[in-house]
Assembly symmetry: C2
Homo-oligomer: 131 residues x 2
DNA sequence: TGAATGTACATGACGCGTCATTCAATGACA
DNA sequence: TGTCATTGAATGACGCGTCATGTACATTCA
């Protein structure tokens, strides 16, 4: 039978666990964000989208699919893509079989930047996630 | 000796691990945030500060100490406390031995709200963090 | 076919966190 | 004690994400 003391202990552990997740998330995300910002002038979310586009190189009506692979809102994705497009890293292509949809393509510049940034990204993950 | 293939595999695993952390962080944070917002009209960060103040009930020049226990910026903490104070949940007390510092106290209302919100918070952690 | 409903994406208002800066109070030291 | 550097906290400009909404296209079904 669970005593009050048991429950308090369990709660403490839960909260500890949560704080540790938060810290590791913020530490890692922050480090990557700052590094990418400094070296490539793009933020973490921009990179994440770039990364997703990069590794689904067979064509499809992307925007939609992207939203499903990231915790970002549809609206956030739209704005991130705005920025990527303005930066000339990605281009929106209209989709013939459903003209509401768009799919995305890396530009040459985008492909090049992604290649370098990915190295940095993986390195920082490795460093921050341990292993 | 590590082959190119080895490195690619390892990178994939790293990225998978990272995405899983992101998802679990966003899912959990989002759920708690929405719930607290709906039932108690405070956000997750407000609660976190409330929670920190609540469990360091011996007095000290808090603001500073708070900043060290949370990934939030000093400036963010300051603004969160603004909101908590406006909501009447917390009050800033000037500190006699160092008049630059402030420490925080829960108001009666703050203490009450924290008690209820903490129950919800722990429940959602439990639900989302598994265990 | 055409009205109703649903879907893909964009957009604007808004809230919040960050950075840089500021301000007051302290501390160090000549 | 008067200067200079430092520290705790607040503030304003700014960027980004979210929510609610808008717009164009698609689908369903009578």
């Amino acid at each position: 039978m669970a005593t009050t003391r048991d429950r308090q202990l369990h709660d403490r552990q839960l909260v500890e666990q949560w704080r540790s997740i938060q810290n590791s998330y913020f530490r890692t995300a922050g480090a990557i964000d700052r590094a990418l910002e400094a070296k490539f002038d793009i933020g973490l979310n921009e990179f994440e989208i770039l990364d997703l586009v990069a590794d689904s190189e067979e064509s499809a009506c992307r925007m939609k699919a992207l939203g499903e692979r990231t915790p970002m809102t549809q609206s956030a994705v739209s704005k991130v893509v705005d920025r990527l497009e303005k930066a000339g890293l990605v281009s929106r292509q209209t989709c013939v079989d459903d003209r509401r949809s768009l799919f995305l393509e890396l530009t040459e510049e985008g492909r090049a930047l992604h290649a370098s940034a990915a190295v940095e990204h993986r390195a920082l993950l490795k460093e921050n996630l341990g292993s």
